[in-house]
Symmetry: C2
Subunit: 115 residues, 2 copies
């Protein structure tokens, strides 16, 4: 049945959405994509994120094997992209491309304002 197939696809989509969809995850991945970073570097890099949220997002991303954690010393921890994490880049590229096109479509026609 095609419907069952579609259900499976939806699950996949939801998973991916969950990974890159949060307010911070995209930014974190983008930052780490550049190069490996330490906790507080990341904190500054990402913007105004609180440590609680940052550590939570990092754990999530680590669980999903998109990033790795490297604890050289208790006060020296680095996070880095895994190969799997890096494999996200082309996908992000495709999403960005469509998003750009989408913006054009939306802006190309006037919107009716609610009366």
């Amino acid at each position: 049945m095609k419907n069952k197939h579609k259900q499976g696809q939806l699950r996949d989509v939801q998973d991916v959405i969950d990974i890159i969809g949060g307010r911070w995850r995209g930014a974190i991945l983008a930052s780490l994509c550049d190069r490996e970073k330490r906790f507080n570097d990341l904190r500054r890099d990402v913007g105004e994120i609180t440590p609680r949220i940052l550590i939570k997002e990092l754990k999530y991303l680590e669980l999903n094997k998109l990033i790795g954690r490297n604890e050289e010393a208790p006060t020296k921890v680095s996070y880095y992209m895994t190969p799997h994490g890096k494999s996200l880049e082309p996908l992000i590229g495709a999403i960005v491309a469509w998003g750009r096109k989408h913006r054009e479509v939306i802006l190309s026609e006037p919107l009716e304002v609610t009366p």
Copy 2:
């Protein structure tokens, strides 16, 4: 600066995420992808969604020109995919592909259970 560029990309990603990321939007789009549907058809098709949420999601998708609304009579309204909406399909395909691969990666190694 590369960072500014990345910020723009993040915006695009967030937009796309917003479109297909909700709990229902993906399912709605998938359902309409098949063929045009009436309100209550959609309601059954999508699962246990309440009318309030459905109408809200439909309006959002319509605003974003992904679907169209066709009111033949006050009691006969159909929704259908626009060409722009259909242009999402390849992107969804790419996302599904990555999601599938991701699932394999996640399942391929044992997870440590929290103590």
